[in-house]
Subunit: 92 residues, 2 copies
């Protein structure tokens, strides 16, 4: 899957990402990947549920994968930390 | 699946629920269900990842389902609201 068809969920309101998903499908994408890390995981599920239930009832959840990523140390954190991830594949 | 083998994720630290999962498997469960709603969804993914990676490497994610539940109106909210849900099935 090309990264073009990915929607990375951040801290904005869920509807921003719902709109991104709808735009990708309307632009011809047949499959898109909704990705999130850490506390944005809940929002990723909201985005998928709102997209499917309110706007694009033909879209199905194809797969859901969870995992762990190690985040490199930063100025605030001296040791690497683990963060959970989710990847939800949506398609027609 | 019996409700006995479910772990409902709330607001406590993730390790409390990790311990609940480990206890169920050590008590003979072969499959357990980790469930969460709303913002606890991120914590549910953390619980599953910590349980598998740090404590029980033989345990696999069997399935992940997401959905929407309608919450009845309360004193604070006059209209029903939708909340996202996740259900992660773990097994040997």
């Amino acid at each position: 899957m090309s990264e073009r068809n990915s929607v990375l969920i951040g801290r904005k309101p869920a509807m921003n990402y719902v709109l991104a998903c709808i735009t990708l499908f309307h632009g011809g994408a047949t499959e898109i990947n909704v990705k999130a890390r850490g506390r944005a995981i809940s929002r990723a599920v909201d985005v998928v549920e709102i997209t499917r239930r309110r706007f694009l009832p033909d879209i199905k959840v194809k797969s859901i994968d969870i995992g762990t990523e190690q985040m490199a140390p930063t100025e605030e954190r001296s040791s690497p930390t683990n963060v959970s991830t989710i990847e939800i594949k949506l398609g027609k």
